[in-house]
Amino acid sequence: MDAGLIPAELLKCAVVESRQVGAYRLISFVAPQIANLAHPGQFLMIRMSGNELDPLLPRPMGIHNVESDLVTMLIDPVGKGTARLAAAGIGDRVSVLGPLGMGFRFEGEAPAVLVGGGIGISPLKLLARSLAAEGREVRCLLGFRTRKEAVATELFSGVRTDVITEDGSVGRLGLVSDPLPGCLAREPGKPTPEIFACGPSPMLAAVARIARECGNAAQVSVEAHMACGIGSCQGCVIRGAGGYLRVCNDGPVFDVEDISWQ
């Protein structure tokens, strides 16, 4: 997936589905071009259409799923921008730029262990589907704070999932990284499992440590505040092994070794 091959479009798209999934909001809109081009792990810059200036900027949102003409996102309303998007009703229009960024890279045939924390589970759905379509073995560890967030597990039906909650209200009690080491051993006749993770920074740091310790390759999708989403403003940087990296353009998915973890 060469960045030069990522077309993008700025579209005003009609919302056709808007429903609550536990603590999150699932919203789908019609965007054939984006649906056609989206690669797992890429993101959109999205806001409500209209000329009100607060919120001002679009928000980066992962692509949860695509289905023929439809693009679906899963929103955790943590602040004003996400709350406004989560309040979108059927027929409302969103302005969307995308798909953007470097998504998950997948080559080879290694079993895939997908690790999602909280709203970080969102891009794993399309990823799981795409990996499965390539014939790869897929297993998801989905971690949530409570039962309320864990409802989103239902979006992963058909995929092998383990649910972990911080309060033990559903599935295993603990952090999503707890069961990870147990999933990483190479099975006879198969390549070493590869990790794909998305979630809050502390979770990603734990995943990076475990991957290093267990000797598995790992890709992580990270977050940063963004303005342009296309590499123009240099605002979304994180510390990389050799200097700052732009999350929007160099990522949002990085190999764990490319990121500075302290």
Partner: protein, 306 residues
């Protein structure tokens, strides 16, 4: 009735008055990410790349961005790969742009402006030079050269001695008297002033209650500062005899109309490009509005509010 949108900015003949604001639109990055052929259908009438400095700069620690009410705080800190790399790597790629390129330079001391201007003077790809004396994100307390009229004059004098190119000085609004600083720039040899760079500001993290930006303070841009910018353009263009490039919160063609009425010869779009990458393409709508106001051309619009 078609309105003539062409304007003259010194020796530069622009197809229309809308250009980009330095640091908010990187055509090389955007061309890659958007895969529209930006080099063919370039929306702006001139292109100003991000400010470059003598030495490469990594920029400030993250986070570097925070949205505020109708505004954006940034503390990028002039991250750039240095003027040498700009000349050897970027300039020839920009050569194929269908519009003039205005190079933006900054320094830590007045002498740097002379040095950078000298390095660009012989470059044909560079149609004009903008001296950014106003970046609030270089020093911790937001102190920029441009806060001091005398240093502004000196930096301009040194650049003026080093180049015969059209010289623009970009000023900060964070001063008691912006007319005084603008006059100092003109006195130092500026052909044009650019108004405004970002307004000093700061935000706290909602949860930690510590400054959210890695650099603690930052520069405020976007619609929130439009009234501040419009006032600066109005006052300076009324007082001084050089053309003014207006910017600060320009989001719609109506905003551009107002900046020109306030006295701007060209109008730059910054933060609005983040909101909507198509904001850049506001020139046709500006033409429609000019026509609606019964004004014959873009150049006749300049300063009608005075």
């Amino acid at each position: 009735m078609a309105v003539n949108l062409e304007i003259k900015l010194g020796p530069l003949e622009l197809a229309h008055p809308i250009i980009n604001a330095s640091g908010t639109f990187d055509v090389l990055a955007a061309d890659k990410a958007l895969e529209e052929d930006l080099f063919v259908s370039f929306p702006f009438a001139a292109y100003i790349p991000k400010t470059v400095t003598l030495q490469p700069r990594a920029g400030n620690p993250p986070p570097r961005l925070q949205e505020t009410a109708a505004g954006l705080l940034n503390s990028i800190g002039l991250a750039n790969h240095g003027i040498e790399a700009f000349i050897t790597e970027d300039l020839h790629r920009l050569e194929s742009l269908p519009v003039p390129v205005i190079a933006s330079i900054a320094g830590e001391e007045t002498e740097d402006y002379g040095r950078c201007a000298a390095m660009l003077d012989s470059r044909e790809e560079v149609a004009a030079i903008e001296l950014n004396v106003s970046c609030p994100n270089v020093e911790l307390d937001g102190r920029a050269l441009g806060l001091d009229p005398e240093k502004t004059r000196q930096a301009t004098v040194l650049a003026r001695q080093a180049t015969s190119k059209f010289l623009i000085v970009k000023l900060t609004p964070n001063v008691t008297d912006i007319i005084e600083v603008a006059a100092a720039a003109v006195d130092g040899g500026a052909d044009c002033v650019s108004l405004i760079n970002t307004v000093h500001g700061m935000a706290l993290d909602r949860y930690s209650l510590k400054p959210v930006l890695g650099h603690v303070t930052g520069g405020l841009s976007g619609p929130a500062i439009k009234p501040v910018a419009l006032r600066a353009v109005f006052l300076v263009s009324r007082e001084l005899d050089v053309p003014v490039i207006g910017m600060g919160g320009v989001t719609t063609a109506q905003d551009a109309l107002e900046f020109m009425a306030a006295g701007a010869t060209a109008v730059a779009v910054g933060t609005a490009s983040f909101r909507d990458p198509l904001a850049a393409a506001m020139a046709p709508e500006l033409g429609r509005l000019i026509n609606e106001h019964g004004i014959g051309s873009a150049s006749e619009l300049i300063g009608v509010a005075h």
